[in-house]
Symmetry: C2
Subunit: 100 residues, 2 copies
DNA sequence: TTTTAATATTGCAATATTACGATAATATAA
DNA sequence: TTATATTATCGTAATATTGCAATATTAAAA
């Protein structure tokens, strides 16, 4: 019914469509390392809720995780990040304003 | 609970989080004029549904409408468009990759 | 192996979104 | 004014999202 690029952009936007997930991405991006077990305190939502949000972010490939000690460590997937950045840029650039 | 910029970006992303709305924006942007009463045929959703989607897009200021004959004419609000483009650009640029 | 500390999953209630038929409102045309 | 064509709103059913308590899983430490 829609093109695949329309569906894909919408899917990504959906993940960004919650302030908690924006906050999580903001926070991870500011960290030098990636000890993420303080996200519950920082964001202020219950641990299962944070886990679910992280999972949504993971689904679109924006997070990569490696184990470090007993903590699962999340970091941002640079390649995917830049790919999505590019998608939004293309979307916002391919617009005409010759109306009204 | 979240910062206002986090809330605002999430709110905008929410509007983009549906392929029909992406498709509507894609379509309007490709038109030379703005006769929009063919959106129902183009998108393939019922007229009330299109109307609701247009309303969502309007809520974040992305559309400006003027009456032209008997048809309400939607066009993209350039200033707002570029403002949101900028918001996403800032979000995607303020990220560190020094992890994992 | 047993504890401990962390993340993941399950189940469920509350809320939000989506879509559309029916109907109302609006503005031009006859 | 009355018909016509277009968009908006209402009501409602189906589905999706969100949040969290309870519980399971996982991996390191004791």
């Amino acid at each position: 019914m829609f093109t695949s690029s329309q569906n894909e952009l919408a899917q990504v936007a959906k993940v960004l469509a919650h302030p908690a997930r924006i906050a999580i991405l903001d926070y991870i991006s500011k960290q030098q390392g990636c000890i993420c077990n303080d996200l519950v305190d920082v964001i202020g939502l219950a641990q299962p809720t944070i886990s679910q949000h992280l999972n949504e972010i993971k689904k679109i490939g924006l997070l990569k995780g490696t184990f470090e000690g007993k903590n699962l460590c999340y970091g941002i997937n640079e390649e995917r990040w830049e790919e999505l950045q590019q998608s939004f840029q293309v979307f916002f650039s391919n617009i005409n304003f010759n109306c009204c």
